[in-house]
Amino acid sequence: MKRSKFPLFVTAGILVFFYLPIVIVIAQSFNASRFGGAWKGFTLHWYSRLFADRNIWHAITNTLIIAASSTAVSIVLGTLAAFALYRYRTKLQIGHNMLIYLPLVIPDILMGISLLLFFVSLSMGLGLFTIFLAHVTFSISYVAMVVLGRFQDFDYSILEAALDLGASWLTAVRRILIPFLMPGIAAGGLLAFTLSMDDFVITFFVSGPDSTTLPLYIYSMMRHGSPSVINALSVIMIALTFIIIFISKKLLEVRK
């Protein structure tokens, strides 16, 4: 039977749908007219206005501090959690598994409001530290899931063999387990880092006056600033995204 063309059209339609708004933003960022449907000439004005903005660098610094610190902590906690989930089949681990799985399905806004109420009732000042705590909380589950995926291929008897041959626990973990898990830990860490850099909703709830991160800054620009400057910022972020994807693909190819 001849195959229907319908699935092809749907797939093509989806891809157009995915890229259309992005293409428009890129075009608009070079358009001299403020919103204009009409093309009023090529300009780099919006880009120069963007780079003149001092506050944005402060926001980028905050974002990187939080992403790096929350990734480091969530890698440790997530990997330990994955080890426990892999190694033991007890009632405790069923509960533990649920605890890891739940934050993945809870909408951001619920995690945001509940952490805000939690911090407020402890009278903690909101700022970089509360954002850090929140980001670790949502990153643990992602790291644990990715590392657990890597664990599925791990043969535990190798670790036991090392112990039988006289290696201490620490040596066996350091020399055998960690190197084996490294690709999973790196992938989980990268995911946690990206999620932290990208998060708006949870950060919005638990941030204080001087702890503006890049997504918070973009949001305030979207509300009050010039849309054309955000177009320019978007294009730079899109370009950075593509460069990072390209580099990580190249790195993976080299490893193969």
Partner: protein, 289 residues
């Protein structure tokens, strides 16, 4: 290794992550539900006494329509995502490996771009003075006065845009494992193309469909940024009300009551998903896999 030592090791591995999540996830969530039964104090904080008034206030004119809109938008966007993801997932799974990877990359790449920026792109795209609007006016599809932005349909489109890949990926993954000889067998046995698709293919990718429904419906229920940016006051969802009560009127018990409602709505499908997952793992464990 002795049993006690084994137990001790298990605890050492479990306590850090479990402890963190209990402290920063479970306790705050329980706290939200508890706060819904507290009264508000005049300074924007939480009062000392317990009350049921907050839930009675949820009956006032504003809320039921917003709650209804939230469920309705989430249901429709889930349905649209599933209905478009099925043919696309089918199509991608029938390509050669090389083309599968290319299309999957094309699907994923836009979603590495910051969430806010993607939503903002839609605001630019649908803007009254934007190119798209002008084309529609030129083709007489839309009148110059009508608005594309700040309405429920805009929110719906952007929710679909944001969550369609999450529906597409599990459906593709299930379709990729589907044995297409079954479809040929159905044709040979006299089934029409549609019959074979509905009665053989759809049941075959059931697991992927279920995952897709959960990963679209739950985040859609919690939408906040999308209606905030492309929707107007007439397209508000529960998430917007939670943020308003928190930041604008500073009525934390009201925000908590709305959140409690959302938690309930989310927990139900999540519980179903988790039970299924648990039984699946149990089955595979009993098979010794």
């Amino acid at each position: 290794m002795s049993g006690i030592k084994k137990k001790r090791n298990e605890m050492l591995l479990t306590i850090p992550s479990a402890g963190w999540l209990i402290l920063f996830f479970i306790i705050p969530t329980v706290l939200v539900v508890a706060m819904a039964f507290r009264n508000a104090d005049p300074y924007g904080g939480i009062g000392d006494s317990w009350t049921l008034n907050t839930f009675r206030d949820l009956g006032n004119p504003d809320y039921p329509s917003i709650i209804w809109r939230t469920f309705w938008l989430s249901l429709v966007s889930t349905a649209v995502c599933i209905v478009t993801a099925i043919p696309a997932g089918y199509y991608i799974s029938r390509l050669t490996r090389r083309y599968q990877n290319i299309i999957l990359l094309l699907v994923i790449v836009p979603f590495w771009i910051n969430f806010l920026i993607r939503i903002f792109a839609w605001k630019v795209f649908l803007h009254p003075e934007g190119l798209f609007k002008q084309i529609l006016v030129m083709l007489h599809i839309s009148s110059p006065e009508s608005l594309l932005l700040y309405r429920t349909e805009a929110v719906l489109i952007v929710i679909i845009y944001s969550y369609l890949p999450f529906a597409l990926l599990p459906i593709y993954a299930a379709a990729e494992k589907f044995d297409y000889h079954l479809l040929e067998a159905a044709y040979d046995l006299g089934a029409s193309r549609l019959q074979a698709f509905v009665r053989v293919f759809i049941p075959g990718i059931r697991q992927g469909l279920l995952t897709a429904v959960i990963v679209v419906f739950i985040p859609a229920l919690g939408s906040y940024v999308i209606p905030d940016i492309v929707g107007g006051p007439s397209a508000e969802m529960i998430g917007n009300k939670i943020a308003q009560r928190t930041f604008v009127d500073r009525n934390l018990p009201h925000a908590s009551a709305l959140s409690a409602l959302l938690i309930l709505a989310v927990l139900l499908p999540a519980a179903i998903g988790m039970t299924r997952r648990f039984f699946k793992e149990k089955n595979s464990a009993s098979l010794g896999i």
